[in-house]
Amino acid sequence: MNLLELRNVEKSFPGRTAPVLANINLDIPEGQFAAIVGCSGAGKTTLISLIAGLTTPDRGDITFDGRPSHGPGPERAIVFQNYSLLPWLTVRENIALAVEAASPGLGKKATGEHAQYFIDLVKLSAADNKRPRELSGGMRQRVALARALAMEPRVLLLDEPLSALDALTRTAMQDELARIWGEAKTTVIMVTNDLDEAILLADCVYPLTRGPRATLGQAIPVALPRPRIRAGLSLNPAYQRARREITRSLEGTKEHEPTVDAVQPQNHSFVTNTHPLTQTPQSI
């Protein structure tokens, strides 16, 4: 059974005629690292807010763990795009708050130990008494990740988790994310506008077409063995195939039912169109 199912989900915003998302269907099996890839403004954040239960769909059904989704909860922990750490709490307190919320009545000592485990997992022991403002972007992202993991969620939702980081930190955090996922072994749904990031990390990539009326294209499995080594990955035929298919799927929304041949030459123009995609794998 799938952990998460979306059926014909549609979402509009007041004051706009066309829905942002329309006819969204998504099946996420337990344990998968799923990546939803789309351009800026396609409605990625809206989609992940729907999955988290922070907003409700206008139409369609969202089923989580066999039951209809109603309202957010720690079983669907989310890492927000801008981290959203509570600035008046230290790193430890931010994480401990999540532990308390996920397992209330744990007692002070056990809560502290739980929090410590997640602080160690993201390698932040040296900064555990600092406040978010004193941390770099990459460190804040680690805290946000640790806080989400500390809820011991069934699914970890990542809303463009690395988009605010500089290229070098971003690369390092991608490797870190792969390592942490390898240890935590939870289901992950990541939303990103970086194709290469999606292929590097995910088991399966779901392309989100351009809005309005954005919808999900055919799921594209990434048949690359783990651990994935960044160097030389772009030369791997499986990598190139996945990249080509995702690009085609994203591009395919402009014209109706494009053939492979018709789309192929336009690939380049699409790539330059979307900022993060211009980072070719060779340049990393």
Binding site: L54, G71, P72, I78, N82, S84, L86, W88, A102, M151
Partner: protein, 256 residues
Amino acid sequence: MKIHQLKNALLPFVGVACVVALWSLLSVTVAPDLPSPLQSWNESKRYILEPFFKEGEMNQGIGRLAYFSLIRVAQGYLLAILIGTPLGFLLGLSRNFTKTFDPLIQILRPISPLAWLPLGLILFQRSEPAALFTIAICAMWPTVINTAVGVRNINQDYLNVGRVLRLSRWQMLTKIIVPATLPYLFTGYRLSLGIAWLVIVAAEMLTGAVGVGGFLWQEYNSLVYSHIILAIVTIGVIGYILDRLMALAELRFQRA
């Protein structure tokens, strides 16, 4: 660098000197009743140099007078923030509460302390509680309004964090809403204290209570004009010190 520091240290005194010169000029030309700076100093220096002497109810060192005023302000101010803070949170949190009471607050807010005091006297029959009532009702508005604005401006992301953590209403208030509002709250507290200090003088003048304001009014009636200047300077200096102290507290909470 040296010259820059010297300037910083000296220029404020130049400003004071200008005002004293203007004051001297006025006292010898258009306002013969106004005591000159020197005369004011000579007649007032005992109150400053022996700030805690006492020769009668209204004839006391400026330290004692200021003490009575400060105690009164502290009580009225405490009342103001004890009422104003929860009121502000209610206004920020509940749309219906805002619709019910916001028009009333906007009308009550600009009313002068001089107008509230007689009402206080009717309500409480005695001058002391009437003064506290006046301070509280005039000083609480900045706290009420800043708190309400602070609550309304809480980052939606923080509230979403609370929703994902499934915090109870009480936890949401104590763990998210109150800490997120603290910087606004303290700005409100600082502005409220400034108003409380403004109101105290008016309240004491009208009720004849012992304090800096009462002293000022009594000395005016006794034609000791130099003491009016003494009282004015005291009110200004204490008001400034209070504001600085609150600004320090505010800064601490904004950092936290």
